[in-house]
């Protein structure tokens, strides 16, 4: 069973000619089939956690370990992490001019699966996945994220999640900027992947709204660069009612 183990993770970032510690000792274990919600106020370091796990060069790991099935993730390049089974659905997906969605998806699937998917079954697979996400077929011919609306970008991220079938999916504020209809479509996509039981999900969010559609097994409150409280779904209800104030007092928040 695939397991992502984060131990005492410390991460810094360079900003304004100064080194700033953003993550101050994160401990978290995500197992295949589980869904963990990480909730926290703005600036608490949630996105830093997501991007550090994916290997974004902006962040420097200064301490701790991250293991995926016992393999040292921090030693891997960005593409190696993806091929090892990590997936990051980004909050702000990047435009890639000149590369069509269909070409991108196939190149990516080929890299992740280790061989080119058979063309006939692949076309069908993509078409059906797009239909489930209410995406127009013409979408495949557009350039990656170029001119996409906020909702289209997030659907495109979830489309990749469905096609690439990672071991651990990190969803970085996938719900932000979505209207209720888009949120439902995107959540259904995430749930389809979860229902396979083959993915561990790390759902990073500022709002409790998405938890009406995606039911977490564990909820963690993230503040000041670490997890400050963990519990079951009931913790989300508490946050819904009381907000993050209890966790941000004393200047713990960046």
């Amino acid at each position: 069973m695939a397991t992502l183990e984060i131990r005492d993770l410390h991460v810094t970032v360079e900003a304004d000619n100064a080194t700033k510690e953003i993550l101050k000792g994160v401990d978290l274990t995500v197992k295949q089939g589980e869904t963990h919600a990480i909730m926290g106020p703005n600036g608490s370091g949630k996105s830093t956690l997501a991007y550090s796990l994916a290997g974004h060069p902006k962040y420097t790991i200064t301490g701790g370990t991250v293991l995926l099935d016992g393999e040292d993730v921090l030693e891997m390049s960005v593409d190696e992490r993806a091929r090892a089974g990590l997936f990051l659905a980004m909050q702000y997906p990047v435009e890639v001019p000149g590369v069509s969605v269909s070409n991108f998806l196939r190149t990516s699937a080929t890299a992740i699966r280790g061989e080119a998917p058979k063309l006939r079954t692949w076309v069908k697979e993509v078409k059906e996945a797009m239909q489930r996400l209410n995406m127009d077929p013409s979408f495949a011919e557009r350039n990656v994220n170029e001119g996409f609306s906020g909702g289209e970008k997030k659907r495109h991220e979830i489309l990749q999640l469905e096609l690439l079938r990672p071991k651990v999916a990190i969803l970085d504020e996938t719900d932000s900027g979505l209207d209720v209809d888009a949120l439902r479509v995107v959540s259904e996509g995430v749930n389809r992947v979860r229902e396979t039981g083959e993915v561990g999900t790390l759902l990073i969010t500022h709002y409790t709204r998405i938890l009406r559609y995606i039911k977490p097994d564990h909820v963690h409150v993230f503040a000041g660069g670490r997890i400050v409280e963990s519990g079951g779904p009931e913790l989300a209800d508490k946050l819904e009612n009381e907000g993050y104030e209890a966790y941000t007092k004393g200047g713990a928040s960046a």
Partner: protein, 410 residues
């Protein structure tokens, strides 16, 4: 990608004044200029005589982007032809006449007049001109291939390619090796003729190549120019089109890959001087490395007589690394409102670390990510060339160019 677009339907000079395109993907290393006008930009009127042009000092509109100090004297009269050092080999199928003619041949200079000092220098200094003729109604099934190979010399050249009425031909001009070359090339298309010219600049690193291409498009004739620039220290090409009768069509495609230290400049002018003609200009460039500098000037002039004109011009650039610079200046000047359409677009985008991260985060290795982006960027244009072996060679060449870059080593 940042994008500026105009689809003017009425008079006067457009494409000026507005702010340069802005966008998240353009940063300090990219400059998009947006001024200048077609007619007023040349500092002297066209002439075949080099003495009619003052030596440029670099502040003239037509020279302001060009590194004069790297022209090896082509602009100031100090460059001297070396007699040999540039080999020209023409392979022509049956039905084609290939000649070397003297300076007084009446067929020279019919398609256009030199518009700057280097073009006039070339016209004033060449010894023999090449004339390739395809007789009327002759339809070639094989391309005419002209191999221009530099062996370290300095040369002034003139080449004429003339198609009689309803003749059809494909010409591939291949520039390789090392040379300092100033040239004029005339394309004369008879009524209803169809000419495709592919000019590949695949020079060695030190070459300097400056040329004016003049096309005179006959009534109902079609001209397609494909300019492909990879090599050289300085390449500055000036494709120009005018029409000899109504119903003519011109397609000007260009593709360049500008590496560290290279200056590649493409200046285009389509003059719609008669009614009911079409023109379509698409140039795409990729840049990588310190001091890579691409310049694209796309001018279209629609004269008062040219009612029913349909024209569009576009330039796109993809900046792969820091330190490269693009100057892209589209410009439309319109003297009649009675046209079908006129528009232009210029866009310069970066392939940056965030794009690389995004693709790599989907399992795609860095080199493949870069290749994916650049191939995708050029593919649409390459497919329009219509000459199989050239298309294949270009794709291979693009891959080769990509291997020379030392991308971020993550």
């Amino acid at each position: 990608m940042a994008e500026a677009q105009n689809s003017p339907k009425s008079s006067t000079s457009l494409g000026q004044g507005g702010p340069p395109p802005v966008g998240s993907t353009t940063a300090g290393s990219i400059a998009v200029a947006a001024e200048s006008t077609v007619v007023s930009r040349m500092s002297a009127p066209p002439s075949f005589d080099v003495a009619d042009f003052p030596v440029p000092h670099g502040r003239e509109e037509e020279w302001r982007f060009t590194p004069l100090e790297r022209l090896r004297g082509l602009h100031d009269g100090t460059a001297v032809g070396t007699g040999d050092g540039l080999k020209v080999d023409v392979q022509a199928p049956e039905g084609v006449t290939v000649e070397a003619v003297g300076r007084d041949d009446a067929r020279l200079g019919k398609a256009g007049t030199p518009v700057d000092r280097v073009a006039a220098q070339a016209y004033s200094a060449f010894e023999k001109a090449g004339v390739i003729t395809v007789a009327k109604e002759t339809v070639l099934t094989e391309p005419i291939r002209i191999a221009v190979h530099g062996e370290g010399g300095t040369a002034f050249a003139h080449q004429v390619i003339e198609l009689g009425a309803f003749a059809e031909a494909v010409v591939v001009i291949d520039h390789t090796g090392d040379a300092v070359l100033a040239a004029n090339v005339d394309y004369v298309l008879g009524d209803g003729a169809k000419l495709t010219v592919v000019s590949v600049q695949d020079w060695d690193d030190k070459a300097v190549h400056i040329a004016q291409h003049n096309a005179l498009v006959g009534r109902d004739a079609s001209f397609k120019s494909v300019v492909v620039t990879f090599g050289g220290d300085v390449v500055r090409l000036h494709p120009r089109v005018t029409y000899a009768g109504p119903g003519g069509e011109a397609e000007l495609f260009g593709l360049y890959f500008t590496d560290a230290g290279q200056h590649q400049e493409h200046r285009l002018l389509v003059t719609h001087n008669v009614p009911h003609c079409k023109s379509n200009v698409v140039y795409k460039g990729a840049l990588q490395g310190d001091g890579a500098h691409a310049v694209w000037i796309g001018d279209v002039l629609i004269e008062a007589a040219a009612e029913g004109t349909d024209t569009y011009e576009m330039n796109r650039n993809l900046v792969l690394t820091d330190g490269a610079r693009v100057d892209s200046v589209p410009n439309l000047e319109i003297e009649t409102g009675e046209i079908v359409g006129a528009g232009h677009a210029s866009a310069t985008g970066r392939f940056d670390d965030e794009q690389l991260f995004y693709l790599m985060a989907r399992g795609i290795p860095a080199e493949e990510a870069r290749r994916l982006v650049v191939r995708g960027f050029f593919a649409e244009l390459v497919q329009q060339i219509g000459v199989d072996d050239i298309e294949q060679r270009l794709l291979e060449k693009i891959d080769e160019e990509l291997e020379t870059v030392s991308g971020p080593g993550r």
